[in-house]
Symmetry: C3
Subunit: 332 residues, 3 copies
């Protein structure tokens, strides 16, 4: 029986469900009351369920849906659903469920990057070692919320006192000055091919707001890095081979550590002016930057002669798996 494609409201749900419909799947959306009207206006959910709390997805009410649907994880999915419940439940996920813990904990994420031979910023394991501008980040995909800069050890402790957090909850990461690139990749666990889809820049509040202020004002404002949008960009073509290699290496690393990575993913990188990529994060699922390309990205256009969003590519992969009867290769 043809599965329904389902996800929860937020992040890239519009793209995922539109892509599913373009590949002729039925769709289901679980959303909160305040977003129901929006999602209905876009007409992408054949079934729309309103919940108070996304964890209701594991309740008896959705038993039937869990049986017939494949759930597509995205940033809000990862953030709002209880990871233990995902692992225990009968929810069928596109992608590898084991990845959630490797993506959700920054120390494990850096271990994965290291195992994959991918360059990262320096991580300082204690505040006394800070010898350059650093950015402090917390665990989990919280959309950049709470990140802040520190200049030295004193500055770290001063801000820790203000913000009140446990040192063990944060990662002290070297701040690399350069240009940002968040490439969108898709790896097929069926054909074993890696595809480059597109690239974006994150638009962050207020870090991207203060740049337009006269510098004398900007100095007094605390920078914050809440991701609020995405801006399209293409990369100098001579840099793409390294992105491709990094993608391949990350997949190999994941196969060593936890049975592999497939489907959409993103390496969040900073490019220094001597053209070295530093990977600061991994998103091992569809990223919101792909929302820029719901009608197809520049690079997807090269591979596909029809408008191919990342959401549609996921649905296409499910279709291919059905045809070849290898659903077990893409669902966990």
């Amino acid at each position: 029986m043809k599965p329904i494609i389902a996800t929860i409201g937020g992040h890239s749900a519009l793209q995922i469900l539109k892509g599913a419909k373009e590949e002729n799947f039925k769709t289901a959306l679980i959303c909160k009351k305040n977003s129901e009207k929006l999602y209905r206006s876009f007409k992408i959910g054949d079934e729309i369920y309103v919940v108070e709390n996304f964890d209701e997805i594991f309740d008896k009410r959705f038993k039937e849906l869990r049986k017939k649907a494949i759930f597509i994880p995205h940033g809000s999915f990862v953030e709002y659903l209880n990871k233990d419940k995902i692992l225990e439940s009968d929810l069928k996920i596109f992608g590898n469920k084991k990845i959630f813990e490797w993506e959700g904990n920054r120390l494990k994420m850096f271990k994965w990057l290291k195992e994959s031979g991918i360059r990262t910023p320096k991580i300082f394991d204690e505040p006394s070692k800070i010898d350059r501008l650093c950015i402090i980040k917390f665990h989990g995909a919280k959309g950049g919320k709470g990140y802040f800069l520190v200049e030295n050890e004193d500055d770290f402790y001063k801000k820790q006192k203000d913000k009140k957090f446990d040192i063990s909850d944060c990662v002290i990461q070297e701040y690399i000055v350069g240009t940002r690139f968040y490439p969108h990749l898709f790896y097929s666990n069926i054909t074993k091919e890696l595809e480059i889809f597109g690239v974006d820049l994150r638009y962050e509040s207020n870090a991207d707001g203060i740049v337009r202020l006269p510098p004398r004002f900007a100095n007094d404002i605390d920078l914050s890095y809440v991701v609020v949008g995405n801006i399209p960009v293409v990369m100098r073509e001579s840099l793409l081979p390294e992105i491709y290699n990094m993608g391949e290496n990350l997949i190999k690393g994941s196969e060593k550590l936890f049975d592999g990575l497939w489907g959409p993913f993103c390496l969040e990188t900073i490019l220094s002016d001597d053209l070295k990529f530093y990977t600061i994060e991994i998103s091992a699922r569809i990223v919101a930057g792909t929302n820029l390309y719901i009608n197809g990205s520049q690079y997807a256009r090269i591979l596909y002669d029809e408008p191919m969003s990342m959401g549609r590519r996921i649905a296409r992969e499910i279709k291919i798996a059905m045809e070849r009867n290898v659903m077990n290769k893409i669902i966990t």
Copy 2:
């Protein structure tokens, strides 16, 4: 008889006339001598008329055209045509003519926003009340020309002396630090459906030019905010429901105050880092940011399986009105 779709040269005329042709309308363009060659190169005007002054549109020469054409207003239309003449003339306008005065006067615009329950920056009714960074704006859609920052009362009077203007001609508006989003919406007065099309950022000279200077140079340069282009952006999906609500509220407000708003419009917003939208302006007609999406925006793609620009959507609405014989609902 099928109407001609007409507009004046500038702002988004290329998009409007291309969209009209895609919906199989005949088109007419009234432009100035210096832009004739450009418009002819794009082959979008079935009839092209050259004028010295856009107000010639009300002359006898264009009597025949006024009879058979529907005029699509845009930013230059609002700026260069005499509003009283528009109201008095037999010019048929797509949209509500009454809106021009509510859009053209900032105090009325803020009254409309307040009536619609939409959050705005604080407005200071006299310079002595300035207690934070403010931006000074003048009435009318002049593409951001003449805006400037003031830090306090003294700074205001100093700059007023330099620039020589009447306090009553300006609005003193709190400067909100955050990220900018200019969402493009379309409301159908026929189906009563609200559609989200896309979002842009304005690219402003020299505010977006000085950001790349070393800060010590940038401090000495007066910032200006002349809109010279637009950059695409998508919004974090969890923010879209509020945009949708703001759109609905603005329509309700317009129905209370002046018989309604329909067709394309834009709420110019700043998003603070605690994720609150502040609306700084309304454009109650097609905005230039939609020029980014002449081949269809990300969100328009979700609703339409063909490339749908805002210009084309307008023409589509006229076509629907013709088919349902309800032209009176969209033309004034």
Copy 3:
């Protein structure tokens, strides 16, 4: 016999070869080992040759290919191939070979601009004349590498001592503060029509990276301008007529100086806040910014009802030349 369309790996090769395939040409790519896997993943080269050095293209090995192929020049082509060898060889180039020397030497480039009546920043012929913020550039298309700012004569000599270069190798150019626009134009030497395709902004490391730093940090970092990507933008429509005129004037200037410019080109401009364009460079071939629009730009959409990239437009021109039997008008 139908020619093969060929180019070297890098810059905009993906777009060029995809465009060629869309117009039903066979394609050939000459690339280096490290990029072979990337290009193969995109499936755009019917023949892929790996070389150690791009100048091998002139060797006996490629005699057969040179006979049947038309080579499309791009930024890396201009940078990595020996210009004298291009002129001497039997390589067939789309465009005018004579242009390479006018594009590659900044003094000749400025002569061409002057001859064309196009406004440029002031050029200071010796360091003692520096009376404002200047940017120092070297000859050739090196992707912005090595550019730096100087504030005055002393600053110039100090930096010259650090960086060790010959004054005769650099151009001292007034730094214009404003917004940047890099419009993509195509001129047909067959139909004599000029087409506006799209516009981009260059994304440069680290100049576009430091903007997000608190100004007090940014002051201590040397700015660099290595072009690492491109961001889409549209221009205020009322500015397009001047772009069109500048394009026409540049073509006329090229006809006076060296038998003409045709095919794709770009005027790199800065727009000051009094809306004057200053042209800082010319790229007399396809620019990387067109990679943003592999699935068609906003403006290309107006002229063509199918997705038309600049790469495809080149292939289309070759097809038209074949049909009309005027290949000599486009190949040198």
